[in-house]
């Protein structure tokens, strides 16, 4: 709560700058229109116009909020124009990818810490994998996975057997999850390696005096010690998974999800639609990372490792 006034102040400042920028960036169009009609535009007319254009260069915040309201509350959830529908598509890919990426990252980290060969060989490849632009790899992954038939989370028959129909989000979910995992496993590997190696020599010597096996040392010492590092990596990994999910939607078909909304918005010049999807994605990211933060605070407090 003590963050309230500073946050409100910063938000207010951003709003002021935004509205001002809106006037400035949308004004060119207004002046062009006026010049073509041979009219003069007064300042108050300029303000009114720049804040209510159909396809503004920089939409005003109230326009974005109106669009958000229109596409979430006023649409049916199953409608193809509902942001809730598209948001769930993105969220499902993000979460599945996050789970894959985190799982793989932890396994790789355990391998690196316990196996000399992996220690020397995995890191360069992991780093190299992150330097390749994801926007180039994503279409390749989508194509490869559809060729081998691994696109749907549950195939049409399996899903129909379970649910009576195939939920829309399950179609094409796997390639998106793989791409999201691709971007989220690396921070987890790096963080967990550091975390698993964090116990100091005294602690390791103590376990040596008990003649503890490597597996014992892992479960009783290394894993609990790595919890703070794990949560930090999870936050970064979650953000990465969301970015991966959105990027993957740009090349998946059918075009669904928040990334797809931004893409179709750009095709049809619907800038307000783009910004609304952007806000929705940002809100989703903030919520997900915030949830991890809450779990982190609770867990670390219970483990006595809170700052």
């Amino acid at each position: 709560m003590r963050n309230f006034f500073p946050v409100i102040t910063v938000v207010a400042a951003i709003m002021v700058i935004w509205y001002g920028a809106s006037v400035w960036m949308n004004s060119k169009w207004v002046y062009d229109q006026a010049a073509r009609a041979g009219e003069e535009v007064s300042f108050s007319e300029l303000i009114k116009d720049t804040w209510s254009q159909d396809r503004p260069v920089l939409p005003a915040p109230h326009q974005i909020v109106a669009e958000l309201y229109k596409s979430t509350v006023q649409k049916k959830i199953t409608s193809k124009r509902s942001l809730v529908f598209h948001g769930w598509i993105t969220l499902s890919a993000t979460l599945l990818g996050f789970i894959f990426g985190t799982g793989m990252g932890i396994l790789l980290a355990i391998g690196i810490v316990h196996n000399r060969a992996m220690d020397m060989s995995v890191m360069p490849w992991a780093i190299a994998s992150q330097t390749v632009p994801i926007i180039a790899i994503a279409p390749m992954i989508v194509v490869v996975m559809s060729t081998i038939g691994a696109t749907d989370f549950l195939g049409k028959d399996a899903a129909t057997a379970l649910f009576g129909y195939q939920p829309a989000f399950m179609q094409g979910l796997l390639p998106k999850a793989v791409i999201a995992a691709y971007l989220s496993f690396f921070p987890v590997v790096v963080g967990m390696v550091k975390g698993l190696r964090s116990p100091d020599n005294m602690q390791l010597d103590l376990l040596k005096t008990y003649n503890a096996s490597k597996s014992r040392t892992f479960w009783s010492l290394r894993l609990p010690s790595s919890t703070p590092y794990l949560f930090t990596s999870l936050k970064i990994g979650m953000a990465g998974a969301l970015v991966g999910a959105i990027v993957s939607e740009l090349s998946a078909s059918p075009l669904r999800g928040l990334g797809a909304r931004m893409l179709t918005g750009s095709y049809y010049g619907q800038t307000i639609q783009i910004w609304a999807a952007l806000f929705a994605a940002a809100a989703m990211a903030a919520t997900l990372v915030g949830i991890i933060g809450m779990i982190e605070r609770y867990s670390l407090k219970r483990m006595g490792m809170a700052r």
Partner: protein, 261 residues
């Protein structure tokens, strides 16, 4: 009455090979420690007392000579869990309660669950921490944490206790208190204790045998058999006998150039 030799070091030699050259940590160490002894190792920094303790614990490997613990090599003794080690810092896991921390060696060594609880309660009584079992380490003071660490070292009934300056980080008053408690504990359990310390009064007060070491290279300067009785109140530190032994320790340190620059 003959007492068996539990720790025997013969011509022990240990050299660390570092980037800055060789460090001759231990040279020609010959020492016998009998069952039930309380042996203190005292000397200036860098004289090899911690290195020697670690060699007995098989945490360091000698470059020459041998050390026998309970008739086996140090490594076999470690694998047989022949001793408990107490470090200078308590090193308790913050995510476990005190009982959980003491349970750690018992879990690793495969004690059955019922026995675990009995052992934990027993050692908590020994170190006078009954009632603190369910607390977490951060809720305890430094002295209490160190007592919990000692309890952890005692939990699995090892006959030997190796202590590396366990009270070094605590203040004088807590130290006095803990010294008394340690002696009582030793009296009750009859363990063989090897105790590394920087403090001359502590060494003289606690031990039956004082090993004075000197640095560069680390070697034994003097072995003093203490003439003090087994039952020792804290006031014994003001007696003439005590001061004589302390004087002898100082002589040993001076002879080993501990007071030189």
């Amino acid at each position: 009455m003959t007492t068996e030799t539990v720790i025997k070091a013969e011509n022990l030699d240990l050299t660390f090979h570092t980037n800055d050259g060789d460090v001759h940590a231990l040279k020609d160490i010959n020492l016998d420690i009998q069952k039930g002894d309380f042996v203190s190792f005292i000397g200036p920094s860098g004289c090899g007392k911690t290195t020697f303790l670690r060699t007995i614990a098989s945490l360091e490997t000698p470059t020459a000579g041998s050390v026998c613990v309970n008739g086996m090599s140090a490594e076999e003794a470690r694998k047989n869990r022949a001793y408990g080690y107490v470090f200078q810092a308590a090193g308790l896991y913050p995510w476990r309660t005190i009982r959980g921390n003491i349970r750690l060696p018992l879990e690793i060594m495969g004690f059955p669950k019922k026995e675990q609880e009995d052992h934990i309660s027993k050692v908590l009584d020994l170190v006078d921490l009954r009632g603190f079992g369910k607390k977490f380490p951060w809720q305890l003071s430094g002295g209490m944490q160190q007592r919990a660490s000692i309890a952890r070292a005692l939990a699995f009934d090892a006959e030997i206790l190796l202590m590396d300056e366990p009270f070094g980080a605590l203040d004088e008053i807590v130290r006095d208190h803990l010294n008394e408690q340690l002696l009582q504990l030793w009296d009750r359990t009859n363990k063989t204790i090897c105790f590394v310390t920087h403090s001359i009064p502590e060494a003289v007060y606690l031990s039956t045998k004082i090993v004075v070491m000197s640095p560069r290279p680390g070697r034994i300067s003097d072995v003093i058999e203490s003439t003090l009785p087994r039952e020792r109140p804290l006031d014994i530190r003001d007696t003439q006998e005590f001061l004589d032994i302390a004087h002898r320790v100082r002589e040993g340190l001076r002879a080993g150039h501990a007071y030189d620059e």
